[in-house]
Subunit: 231 residues, 2 copies
DNA sequence: CTGTTGCATTTGTATGAGTATATCGGCAAG
DNA sequence: CTTGCCGATATACTCATACAAATGCAACAG
């Protein structure tokens, strides 16, 4: 049933995480695609495909004679879903987590306001079910966190804006990692349901202003929890 | 000097634009990697690498026995720089352009406010030079549009938030295409410099509220122009 | 010192053989 | 008739090797 990870995926993930965790610095070289692939015990084909994946995500660039080098951080597609997953597979940079929260603070309140104006009945349903699942399982369980993500995802979907919705996986990664991090550090989490319900009710009532404020409050509380964890 | 486009890049661009312009619909099949590559007159190696690129950007997925299929639109990384470039290489969907503008309306005012608080002297300098170049060349010239992009890019950079800054290429594509579109339809553009200067001066003065309002005004005017073009 | 030209090195492309995997269809049990 | 198992088979995946193309560097000519 599950899809076994292909070799090129494994290589891409391995090298990608190595770059994102700083084991390879911008400018570092991967010269010698024959040596590299043999060193990994694979043929050139999957190695090259892994390189193509990383190039597609902006992490590296390769030209004949010049070799393959890690690009400058500013050229990385940090919001790419795979990049985020690779970033969060280790202990991510605290500064980057703060940046992601700040981005959520920009996107999600505005999205909540738009969602309040445009949401369909089906999307309201999705949100309601997600919150029910979240209440039932709690954030300690995988299913609970998945439900949390579904809720935030549904809010972005309800904006009926594809560009905004495509940030869902990025935001979702931030949501997921934040709660995981709290769990990892054994912080007794305050029940997050009230804030979520406030957002939900405002969107259901088509009250854009209230939805914005409720989402801002939700993020403020989440950020406080996270900051407490770091401190 | 210029880098000749590699075959796998060309294939990826070709198939990517075909998907983004709707010539291939979600669910459509690319089965037969041998046939497909021969039909394109290339070997399987670069064809497969092109497929890996498209997979990395979420446009397609491929599994043994099942074949290679175009994924659902919701799984595409619409804000990926290449995806945007491919999208804008043709006549992009008007709805998507509106979505991108809405996203800019969410991101850029907030970014301008943050930039006002955090900008460095060097970043102020970059903005000033960009505006000077913009005034000198005008938006009809490539150099003028490049300067316009540099300005908006500098604003996002000045937030000192990597997650926000990584949206620069996305926003930049929107900026660039918008002005190109106006040119293409021979709309006599109003001089956009005053709004830009207003944003710049607010950021220089570290006035976050004024920067936010000035950017909102800039976007409102730009949107009006674009809407008039469509009408 | 400057421009140019040839060369060596690295990535890019071609091709054919063989492997692994997941879908599909049939078969058996319920 | 439905459900679950299970093997045959088409498909992508990997390997190995050979050759082509591009480009940065150094030697060289002016």
């Amino acid at each position: 049933m599950g899809k076994a990870e292909r070799i090129h995926q494994a290589i891409a993930r391995s090298l990608g995480t190595a770059i994102l965790t700083g084991k390879y610095q911008p400018g570092d070289s991967f010269e010698g695609e024959i040596e590299q692939s043999l060193a990994l015990g694979v043929s050139r084909t999957p190695y090259r495909e892994a390189i193509r994946i990383l190039v597609a995500k902006g992490l590296i660039e390769s030209r004949p004679r010049a070799g393959t080098h890690v690009t400058q951080r500013s050229r990385w597609n940090l919001l790419d879903p795979d990049i985020l997953a690779w970033t969060f597979s280790g202990e991510p940079d605290q500064a980057f987590v703060r940046d992601l929260f700040e981005l959520r603070g920009i996107i999600e309140p505005a999205a909540a306001a738009l969602a309040a104006q445009r949401r369909t009945a089906a999307q309201i349903d999705t949100m309601r079910q997600a919150l029910a699942a979240m209440q039932h399982h709690g954030l300690a369980a995988d299913e609970g966190r998945a439900a949390d993500q579904r809720f935030h995802h549904a809010v972005l979907e309800a904006t009926h804006n594809e560009a905004v919705a495509s940030l869902a996986s990025s935001v979702g990664a931030a949501v997921d990692w934040t709660t995981r991090f709290k769990q990892r550090h054994h912080v007794l989490p305050r029940d997050p349901l009230p804030e979520h319900l406030a957002v939900f009710h405002a969107i259901e009532a088509s009250d854009a202003g209230a939805a914005r404020k409720a989402m801002e409050e939700l993020l403020r509380l989440a950020l406080d929890d996270t900051a407490a964890t770091f401190a």
